[in-house]
Symmetry: C2
Subunit: 342 residues, 2 copies
């Protein structure tokens, strides 16, 4: 299988005239090696061009040096941008990232954290679940270090990193109300078990109305199966067909917003004059679209870094630390879809 012999610890040891264990100590920078031996070994390492066999090391240590990141869809810009940060953060800490895309398949999501065999491929998982039920979470491998992104309140056995969805959504809605809009719609509600994120946003949407002393027109809260362009486009069509269509829309993702805007333009509506639109996630698309999209911008870099750090902490500790609720900051970015052209 191997073409050409590899250079092993033993080869180096032979050349340096020490035991292979000592070479290992040098290579790994362990303490208690005299400068003399260290130098001698180092010279042998250089001369032979020795490079450690990661597989063997992993087997011996019972760890893999890899973490898995599980996302529903890779081509969703939000996940792609987040992933980018995670990969960067993991690499600087000596970890490789294994990407798993579930295609929103719940069975697959479940299997990933349940099956033991995977356990050896990665030391921990950062999970951005689409439809992970509480049950699946409950009967997961309890030794698997886990950090969850998006919305899913921690039960104390894992960390959860996200932004304050309720507050952010309230701010988004208030922004629309502050423009003087009176019929504000919401696109993206998911009133069932696996739609926690959506529900928190709906909650913020309601709170904004309440705080202004306004009633929510339930017909203006539209459910969507996911948060992509098509969902936004379809939902917007439905809204425009109402007897009293909205004059503003809070979309639960920027993709939804882009889809909604697409429909509005196609129907000859002006954005924001006829209908103001706000999104969520601050993906790059929204900064270049026509019109550009007002949005809630979560601090993705911070989410990524925090997730990786907490996970590695979990991996590193004998007794798992308590599961934390970690909040990254967010901010409202106002662009043309609510403010109009400059």
């Amino acid at each position: 299988m191997r073409r050409g012999r590899h250079i092993t610890l033993r080869d180096v040891a032979a050349l340096a005239g020490v035991s292979s264990r000592t070479v290992s100590n040098v290579v790994n920078g362990y303490a208690n090696v005299t400068e003399a031996t260290r130098a001698r070994v180092q010279r042998a390492v250089d001369e032979l061009g020795y490079q450690p066999n990661v597989l063997a090391r992993n087997l011996a240590q019972g760890r893999s040096g890899q973490i898995a990141v599980v996302v529903p869809y890779l081509d969703t810009p939000y996940f792609a941008e987040l992933l980018q940060g995670i990969i960067r953060a993991a690499r600087t800490r000596g970890y490789n990232v294994l990407i798993d895309q579930t295609d929103g398949d719940r069975a697959h999501e479940r299997e990933l954290i349940t099956k033991r065999s995977h356990r050896l491929l990665f030391d921990g998982v950062i999970f951005s679940p689409l439809g992970l039920s509480q049950a699946a979470l409950a009967d997961r491998d309890p030794t698997l270090p886990l950090v969850i992104l998006g919305e899913r309140v921690s039960d104390g056995t894992f960390d959860h990193v996200g932004i304050d969805d309720v507050t952010a959504s309230r701010q988004a809605t208030e922004h629309l109300l502050d423009l003087g809009r009176t019929r504000v719609a919401a696109i993206g509600d998911q009133p069932y078990e696996t739609g926690e994120a959506a529900q928190l946003r709906t909650q913020g949407f309601r709170e904004a109305h309440r705080s202004r002393g306004l009633a929510v027109d339930e017909r203006l809260i539209i459910r969507t199966p996911r948060f992509n362009r098509l969902d936004g486009a379809t939902a917007m069509k439905h809204l425009l067909d109402l007897p009293e269509p909205p004059d503003a829309v809070f979309c639960y993702s920027d993709l939804v917003a882009l889809g909604a805007i697409h429909t509005l333009i196609a129907r000859g509506k002006r954005v924001p004059e006829d209908v103001a639109v706000i999104g969520y996630d601050n993906i790059e698309d929204g900064a270049y679209s026509n019109p550009t999209v007002t949005t809630i911008s979560p601090d993705k870099e911070m989410i990524a870094t925090t997730a990786v750090e907490r996970l590695l902490l979990r991996i590193g500790s004998r007794t798992p630390p308590p599961g934390l609720e970690l909040r990254a900051p967010h901010q409202l970015i106002v662009r043309e879809s609510t403010a109009g052209r400059g």
Copy 2:
């Protein structure tokens, strides 16, 4: 539920009353196992909930069961969409995908295919290089199975999968000329070693003019460092500031096109009435933007599948197969940015 200790082949062997080697044979579905033993072993496997240790298997076999995919940027929709296909294709063939993002760092790209230690983490690489020089390719680990995406003619030691960039670019340009446009610009040229893809597109651009008996105005060929929105936006500004601005633009990626359109709209130009725009890649954004973007659509699914298949073939064969040039089909998709609102 056993905590701590894993269940090994030996445990199963003991329970089934056979040797561990036989259990291995059963688990791996090797031939020459009688139905009786197979059943007995299987029962033991099920009873104990045995799951093989991938690490150990890999070490013993000297392979990792993983392939690496190297892309410059994850948040470029084109790569994300491609990756999605690659991950899917690899998984169905029992391979995991390790993602490496180079951030366009050439040193990193180089190191990835040069360093031997990585060799053990993955059995092969699918590479979408940004700036991989011929030299770096030349002194790579010659035993590393390699498939390259994008533009980079094979030197016979690896496979190359892509579409026919010259033809596609010629078609794109001809489409603009067919609309009666007389001053067609090109955004994205990269006339230096690592810009092969760009150069092929420029070549197609020129061929289209030649085939129509038209001269190319060199001032209308704009260089950009990359192919993203910002590049497109900047280049378009430059073009609009020319004494005789173009009435059509061939952009070397959809992102560039979206950036260019952004600038056009901001400057009060109508698309396509004043300036027609065509992109390249057919990313989802272009189907929902305002206006929607005419584009060259490569068959991404086919590119992904082909790349994975060729790579696994390479990994599997003792004597490496000859490096092939593989062409996936493409097609022109006409949308609003050249055809106007239907």
